[in-house]
């Protein structure tokens, strides 16, 4: 297989996504570039305002260098894809951003505040939500309760009020229930509202997990392979949800995804990792033509 053929393989997937666009009810979805231009003009701040920047991040586990000297930024309102072969360090990068892992070196600047590392609670407070590569739902709880937990930081009633329930606690509960029901409608999961998530098929679990993250009304949404293991139809739905979350809720998205077609179509900019190092960074078109990226993907194509 030559480099050209590899790129062909990448581009060949694009038409299916075009098809998905046509299939959605979205009027004139247009190209990612056109869409991001629209987002930018609608955004409040300056067009290229940086929401999050990681600077020379390194992460070591014993002898393994999961990340080495990685720097990139995420601008408000964009969909930023992070791609790379298996074990490249994509998940580790997200873990650093939301404070699961503490980088051995480097800094993370979020909303202008610079830190050596984040902490999960601080990240959540600051508006970073996330989904996981292997679904991390609360299995014993219903879909509704799972998504309601996403409102935890916004619910203010203390223990005593909840004990009595009637009055402020119930009012608050209903208020948040309304927001959650909107998300449930948006994700089209009304029928599984009261089902414990442990009993749901994988595709729906992924959707509920996205719902829980959206319930936080995050500024930055980290999605770790949200479409992995899904069939074409489910993938199309998921793409639509991500795009709409980005457009209508003004949520900035960092997206890890292996399906290159999806990445090319959805993202505004792409950062490419390989063996824990950044090998390319730019628009989908730029990255696609990058010899280093072609080589990296060839390496795993066999």
């Amino acid at each position: 297989m030559t480099g050209m053929q590899a790129m062909d393989a990448m581009t060949q997937q694009t038409p299916t996504i075009q098809h998905h666009r046509a299939g959605t009810a979205e009027p004139a979805a247009g190209s990612a570039a056109a869409r991001s231009a629209a987002t930018r003009s609608a955004a409040t701040g300056p067009a290229d305002q940086v929401l999050l920047a990681v600077d020379r991040i390194s992460l070591r586990f014993g002898g393994v260098n999961a990340l080495t000297d990685v720097s990139f930024d995420i601008r408000r309102g964009e969909i930023r894809a992070i791609i790379g072969p298996n074990g490249a360090g994509k998940t580790s990068m997200l873990n650093c951003i939301n404070g699961f892992y503490h980088p051995t070196d480097g800094t993370i600047t979020f909303k202008g505040e610079r830190r050596a590392h984040m902490r999960p609670y601080v990240a959540a407070r600051g508006g970073i939500a996330r989904t996981f590569q292997n679904v991390a739902l609360f299995r014993g709880m219903t879909t509704l309760d799972n998504i309601m937990t996403g409102r935890a930081l916004r619910m203010r009633c203390g223990l005593w009020r909840q004990l009595v329930r009637v009055g402020p606690a119930l009012r608050e509960e209903i208020e948040h229930r309304q927001v959650v029901e909107e998300i449930i409608d948006f994700l089209q999961i009304q029928h599984i509202r009261k089902v414990p998530v442990g009993r749901l098929p994988y595709g729906l679990q992924k959707r509920v997990e996205l719902g829980r993250a959206l319930a936080m009304e995050p500024d930055l949404l980290l999605l770790d392979e949200p479409m992995a293991g899904m069939n074409v139809e489910e993938k199309e739905d998921m793409c639509r949800f991500v795009v709409e979350a980005n457009r209508h809720f003004r949520t900035t998205v960092a997206l890890i995804e292996h399906d290159i077609g999806v990445v090319m179509d959805l993202s505004d900019r792409v950062v490419v990792l390989e063996y824990g190092r950044k090998i390319a960074d730019g628009t989908p078109a730029e990255v696609k033509g990058d010899p280093a990226v072609i080589k990296a993907y060839l390496g795993v194509a066999h």
Binding site: N98, G99, F100, P120, Y121, A123, A124, R125, A129, R130, F132, A136, L137, F138, R139, G140, M141, D145, M148, T149, G150, R151, A152, L153, M155, C157, L159, Q162, L163, V164, R165, A169, L170, E172, E173, I174, R177, Q178, E181, R212, A213, M216
Partner: protein
Amino acid sequence: MLYHEAGQYKTTYAQDMALLPIAQERWSLAGLLVVAFVGVPSMAFLGIPPFDSDYVFSAILLPFLILSLAALGLNVLVGYCGQISLGSGAFMAVGAYAAYNTAVRLPELPILVALLSGGVAAAAVGVAFGLPSLRIKGLYLAVATLAAQFFFDWLFLRVKWFTNYAPSGSVTAPPIDVLGFRLDASVERYLLVLTIVVLFAFGVKNLVRGAIGRQWMAIRDMDLAAEIIGIRPVYAKLTAFAVSSFIIGIAGALWAFAHLGSWEPLTFSIDRSFHLLFMVIIGGLGSILGAFLGTAFILLVPIVLSRLPAALGTPLSTSTISHLETAVFGVLIIVFLIAEPLGLARLWSLAKEKLRLWPFPH
């Protein structure tokens, strides 16, 4: 058709979130409460068997209610928040001795305040012994709570101040006065305990279906994911320990004051802790109904077993009966856990699902 919800439309979220959204369930609960609050005392008053005998109250109803309360408390911690505790016997003891000392040393305070102080003291102790849960989980945490059990066994046996220097170590609770009435008869104590248990059951139900309950369950199901959506494990775990041991402490104080009257330090031994854990597991983790069902099972099965040989006309010696009872009881627990690991409450909800579709099987 008994249990159909057709035609019961919910038009607001408040209705959908009601305690019992289905009318049949509301009526059953109301009926049960009427029987418990009015029916049982009336039958005792009118001398209708079996409620004419003190035995039913002192050996069955009072222990059932009080241990259900303790199981309810333990279920908050183990069933809802997923933190294992083997120290519930100790938390009951703390409740009992704190209430005793408050009552004896500050006799001018109403006895209900003394009972309350038992709950508060147990909550404080529960939080202290819950601190390790911030670092350790599972079996290791169980061992840490076991330390609470041994520590308080030792404390109440050896430090005489707690037993008010009673020479035998056995102490006697003062009589229970509520609003000027002295509750002497077991029916009266039954009514007091019933009121408290019902209040706590509704309170716990409110907590577990509210924001704090979701936080507990989130920690139980996946603590890391809970943390990234902004739930603080420290707050969730420690409130679970506090609420749980408060309830267990109240149960301990009631066990001492309303059930036993006088007791020795070893009343609240490790056996009690295991008993409560069995009740919660057999009844169903994370279920309020389960706390009651599990307690009924653990309490009633031995009573039935001990009477069975005589009833069948095969008189055995008392010691044989008690050995057999223990053995059969143990086997029953194991069989039960294999057959229905999710507990009696799960059986009940399965039965309800069936009943909803009845008479159509699918």
